[in-house]
Amino acid sequence: MQYLRQVWTIAAKDLRSELRTKEALNASLSFALVILLLFSFAFDPTAEMTREISGGLLWLVFAFAGALLLNRSFARELENDCLDVLVTSPVPASALFLGKALANWVLLLGIEAVCLPVFGVFYNVDWARQPGWLALVLLLATWGITVIGTMFSALTVNLRLRELMLPMLVYPMLIPCLMAAMQLTTALVAGQAPEGDQLAWLRMLAGFDIIFTALSVALVETVLIG
């Protein structure tokens, strides 16, 4: 119980900090919108083609924008040596990690909520055909991205060249999660409820989330305490 309260305290602090300054949020959101715009120049897709690539395009945008947001997750604690204070405190490293992941998840979902209608307007995509399933996919896949991103933010927090390295490390690890999300989203946009193959993707996504959350929770203390 106390553990959950600690997770919540950390999450609330991160959310309050970010919502007050909005630095990472703005950068991430602008980046997402600019990429959406640029993709239109790269492809000039027909209506049918758009439906086929919608899932892929959407999750590429979310992955790039998400990376921008997640990078800062632990790095922002370095100012004023706040990270040391957090680690010294009785809050376990895993609670620190989960609290930050939770805050990041909420922020990333917020960015996605803004991008979806914009994407829908720019590319004439109707996202509302299977809203329930789409919401589930968004929640699960975003959690996957968040967990990996937050974990790597912790891993690289004390390193110089952190910003340069993070994309190289994070994206390959996200590939299974992103692929599942892309497949599922493309099918959902076409109006099909998941069945057969799609359910397999959904199960894989859930499995990915569970396994990497567990692994991160187990390993984050090793990463933060030298």
């Binding site: 390959p172 692929m179 390993l219 090793t222």
Partner: protein
């Protein structure tokens, strides 16, 4: 003494390879559909096996390092990963050569090549991380965690990419495309010298790591005081 053993292993591996290549070229008949180039499979497939075996060794070494804190495990982890990347690259390049000759294209996004590429990038990231950390214990600790995360994602990579349509030939060691017994024997047979080369590479690299650690300790001592 240890050096002598390494030389002997190297010589044996070279001999075995020479013998295998000779057998491949003279003993085995050409494959029905693909012709002479099919022999590349005797390097292409064992290289992939060796690559993942080495990544598994790196995983065990990483876990051992985290448990015991002894730097020898870190040396093994980095050596095995580097050797694994070498064999992975061999698999990718031989695959590309094969694809060019058989299908006329250098690259295809079939599931095996793509998965291997993703795994290669994953572990290349391991080396990138190591370069960014100067302090040896911190470097060992962080890269051990990365090694564990990377190995965990490997099965996910394979499953997810495989569920796409594939252009790669059917599996040759099991299932319908099963190879002739002689071919299979050569494939496993050629794995032996490759494993010996892998062990050699790892051993040489580990010795290098040990010297680097000594140098680093001396340098720190000199600078500190």
């Amino acid at each position: 003494m240890r050096e002598k053993i390494l030389y002997v292993v190297g010589a044996l591996a070279a001999l075995l390879l020479a013998r295998n290549i000779w057998a491949m070229l003279t003993g085995l008949p050409d494959e029905a559909f693909q012709g002479a180039i099919f022999r590349i499979i005797f390097f292409h497939v064992p290289a992939a096996f060796t690559c993942f075996l080495l990544f598994f060794v790196a995983l065990t070494a990483s876990v051992s390092y985290l448990k015991t804190g002894r730097m020898q495990w870190d040396s093994l982890a980095v050596s095995a990963t580097e050797a694994g990347l070498a064999f992975g690259a061999a698999n990718l390049v031989s695959g590309m050569i094969w694809a060019r000759i058989i299908w006329g294209i250098w690259w295809t996004w079939d599931w095996r090549l793509t998965s291997m590429l993703v795994c290669w990038l994953l572990y290349a990231g391991y080396l990138v991380l190591r370069r960014a950390v100067e302090e040896p214990a911190q470097r060992a600790r962080l890269s051990a965690v990365l090694s564990i995360l990377s190995f965990t994602v490997v099965p996910f990579v394979f499953f997810s990419i495989k569920w796409f349509r594939t252009q790669h030939p059917q599996p040759v060691l099991y299932g319908e495309g099963k190879m002739d017994a002689a071919y299979r024997a050569m494939l496993y047979g050629n794995w032996v010298p490759l494993l010996m080369i892998a062990a050699l590479l790892v051993a040489v690299r580990m010795r290098q790591e040990r010297r680097l650690r000594e140098l680093d300790a001396l340098r720190r001592e000199a600078h500190a005081f």
